[in-house]
Symmetry: C2
Subunit: 145 residues, 2 copies
DNA sequence: TATTGTTATACTCTATAACTATA
DNA sequence: TATAGTTATAGAGTATAACAATA
């Protein structure tokens, strides 16, 4: 007992995840975009959707999405238009300039991943993915005291 | 190209790490302590040290440590005393009550880890630890834009 | 003059609730 | 009355700089 943080697998995963996240966010920012704005662009790439859907997918509050989309719109990387079927809704879509920016972001993230996982063989990366997928993370019923 | 976030190993590690961290923090809070206060107690368990050393070990600013130690001291879980050799220094040490609290925290973190990694065999947990240790996370020279 | 711990300040993030316009 | 988006406000967290005591 009395295990030091660094001896525990939970802390190791948490800390490595944190640092990996920081490295990925640095890559996301390559175009001069705030990391969360780049993430939003990624979510929009497959196709347009309403703000509410987008907020649900990204698991953020709709009110936070407003500022993100304002910035993306000001930068000409995404656009909002009213849904004719329900004029309360905004349909959000990525612009051609947004697609271009996203390509550069994708390349930077790919490079970051090659750096992060470069010491692992392809097989080991598959193994790591498989193990991570089996870590039980159900955020429910564990509020932080 | 144009890989969706969830397809990328970097995002997977980052997100799992995030959720694992949340679960661990919930466990750290079991005694009613703020997670970072419990972390501080963990660092103090092996032996006393100065505030500056403690801040260095925990990689936080010394000014942030002040509030943490105030709370731990108010709760009777840690104590500060002047270093006779250099009266500028505070020597920080865990109290018997702090050790007791830490035992309960340790038990809760252990339980959280059994939950998180319960689907993995011992061998797989060792494997996961080995793979995580080989992820290259050198935070230097990658500022977030 | 440099160092230890402390205080004060400002900035970012996030969470919440009110507000508008449409339905 | 309920829903989509927006705005405003407050709280936590963090980073920085100024400060007092000691070396």
């Amino acid at each position: 007992m009395a295990a030091h943080p660094t001896d525990r697998l939970g802390f190791l995963l948490s800390f490595r995840g944190e640092l990996t996240g920081a490295r990925i966010r640095a890559a996301l920012g390559v175009v001069g975009l705030h990391p969360r704005n780049a993430m939003t662009l990624m979510q929009l790439a497959p196709g347009a959707m309403s703000q509410r859907e987008l907020a649900a997918v990204m698991e953020i509050d709709p009110s936070q999405l407003v500022a993100i989309l304002n910035e993306l719109e000001d930068a000409g990387l995404a656009g909002r238009r009213r849904d004719p079927a329900d004029r309360r809704r905004h349909i959000v879509e990525i612009t051609p300039a947004g697609v271009e920016a996203l390509e550069r972001v994708d390349a930077a993230v790919g490079a970051a991943e090659r750096e992060l996982f470069g010491d692992l063989t392809e097989a080991e990366q598959v193994l790591l993915r498989g193990l991570l997928d089996r870590v039980v993370v159900d955020p429910a019923d564990h509020e932080c005291g």
